[in-house]
């Protein structure tokens, strides 16, 4: 079997605050194949952005990766020297940030962003060549190439996000991490940006990690989905499985809250309660206070990740050995 492009093994990220250690990402493992789209879904504070940042070892202070291993193309990311790590960022793993309005340097022209990025990683490229490539990249993401000489404030939000995406694919990375790439955009632009990301993924053969709080976005567009809750991976399955056969009560709750055009009298349901304080987690399963089918065991002990189908993992006792649903 071919080795996956990237494997993440038992990754744990903690924020060491004065009040105590907050485990934002807890013992998370997954793998990423070439040209795969992986969706990471969770609410605010579930650790999905921290997970994304830890992939390039850029978790903001006071956070740190305390355990685990990330292997990209046979290299251990977390053990790289500073210089090698810098080469990896931007060249192997690229990031598309949440807020396109402020993700570009306001005092530099669009072209200058490309020139700097390309010349940082490939110093032999001249400025003219870099600008040429910038124009081609802009055309690839659907922006007229004259725009290289514009300043960021002359572009709309959607265009800026396109520029961010063009910057991310500029050096043909193997992985692009898009951290809520469409949160700041309206629905139509949102769909266009996501389609663009998928089209580029196919054209450039890169893997895409799509981090979002909106399950409906990733259901259509990703191959596999990780559902995160309070730092835990609660469900990990191919997206078709998540859609047709959600196992974890949290995932079921998320799906019930998405309007479905095929159901006439669908009642949208919200999950009651709010996510737990990571400093003060409930004993046992982290989801039981909000779970509609919690039972005695959920309150006592934390469920492990249970294989509940081929390629389907769920962190719930409902699928534990010897129990029928």
């Amino acid at each position: 079997m071919e080795r996956p492009l990237m494997t993440v093994d038992a990754l744990t990220v903690e924020y060491w605050t004065r009040k105590g250690k907050i485990r934002a990402v807890d013992n998370l493992s997954f793998s990423l194949e070439k040209a795969e789209t992986l969706g990471i879904v969770g609410e605010s504070g579930s650790g999905k952005s921290t997970l994304g940042l830890s992939l390039i070892d850029l978790v903001p202070f006071p956070g740190r990766v305390t355990k685990g291993n990330i292997i990209l193309k046979g290299k251990e990311v977390l053990k790289l020297q500073k210089d090698n790590l810098r080469n990896l960022r931007g060249k192997e793993i690229c990031y598309v940030f949440q807020d396109p309005m402020t993700s570009l340097n306001p005092v530099k022209k669009i072209g200058a962003h490309f020139v700097e990025l390309i010349r940082t990683h490939e110093p032999q490229v001249t400025k003219q060549e870099a600008l040429k490539r910038a124009e081609k990249l802009l055309r690839d993401v659907g922006i007229r190439s004259e725009r290289v000489s514009d300043y960021p404030h002359q572009l709309s939000g959607g265009m800026r996000q396109r520029v961010m995406i063009a910057l991310a694919i500029a050096l043909k990375p193997s992985v692009v991490v898009a951290d809520e790439p469409t949160t700041a955009l309206d629905v139509i632009v949102q769909a266009k940006i996501l389609d663009l990301l998928n089209a580029l993924r196919d054209a450039y053969g890169m893997a895409l990690i799509l981090i979002t709080h909106d399950l409906s976005i990733v259901l259509q567009r990703s191959d596999r989905i990780i559902v995160m809750y309070a730092g835990h991976m609660v469900e990990y399955a191919p997206s078709i499985e998540i859609y047709s056969n959600p196992k974890h009560p949290y995932t079921q709750g998320l799906l019930n809250s998405i309007p479905n055009i095929e159901l006439a009298n669908q009642k949208l349901e919200a999950i009651s309660g709010s996510p737990p304080d990571l400093l003060n987690l409930p004993k046992g399963c982290r989801f039981w206070p909000r779970c509609y089918c919690a039972f005695e065991r959920c309150r006592r002990e934390a469920p492990p990740l249970i294989k509940s189908g081929t390629e389907h993992f769920t962190r719930c006792f409902l699928y534990a050995e010897g129990r029928k649903t």
């Binding site: 850029l58 080469n87 990031y95 940030f97 402020t102 993700s103 600008l131």
Partner: protein, 308 residues
Amino acid sequence: MPTLTQEYACRGIKMQKLKIKKSMLSHLLPGLASLAKRGLAGWLVILGAGLVIAVIVITVLSPVLSPYNPSGLNVGPRLSPPSFQFPFGTDDLGRDMLSRVISGGGIMLQVAILSVIVCVIIGVPLGLFSSYTGGVIDRFISLIMDSVYAFPGLILAIALTVVLGRGVINMAISIAVVYVPSYFRIIRSQVLSIKETPYVEAANAAGAKKRTVLSRYILPNTIPSIAVVATVNFADAILTAAGLTFIGMGVSVEIPDWGWDLTNGRNLLPSGAWWVITFPGLMIILLALGFTLMGEGLSELLNPRLEQ
């Protein structure tokens, strides 16, 4: 219209540079005219810049403009009040006050410009480095800067000139020491917020070096604040320089200087010779006012937070 690439392709690098320079100028000139459309703040900048430029032009052209030798004794009668021959009167040694007013700003301007340059050279990089590094280093540098900042400016400048001695450069250095902390503090606070912005994070995520992040991303975004602090600082530096010469810590007495004329005028004031102190004093006020107006206007134009 040819696109930018075509231009790049068919012209040499030299031509490009020329073009950039040209386009910068052609960008700046209409910019100046549009200042008037920016409301009160724009007019403040124009008025302030006008005052400053006028004083600088007068000072630079003083050898041509002054009717008499500003240091020449007994060019007229002693203590003659303003007249057609001596529009600003003469002092107790018979020196023409108009000539002294025209040429008395040289030292002060030199000191102010030098001290602002020294301040920018020291304060800005220090603020950038300290703030971006953070931690113990930042606290240590901030502590030193805050202790300097806690001293009353003029008194510290006087103490430093006593140690360093007279002269333009020594005055500039002692004034610079007093005002470096204000640059440091402004830059530091700016960097604290800029270094958390998504575009700096994006630069880090794209593998930029620390040096690149500081010089290409953070420094250019602090330039508006630097411009504002520098203009306000000019006014302070001029007043401090005037204060230093006023108490005799400036340059030697032979060189015409407004500060010295103030001291002289104060002694003569009881005898009714108001003109000796008034005109140099007015010049200092005008110059400081010019810089202050410019600084206030710029800070309103460049600082979006104050607009609301």
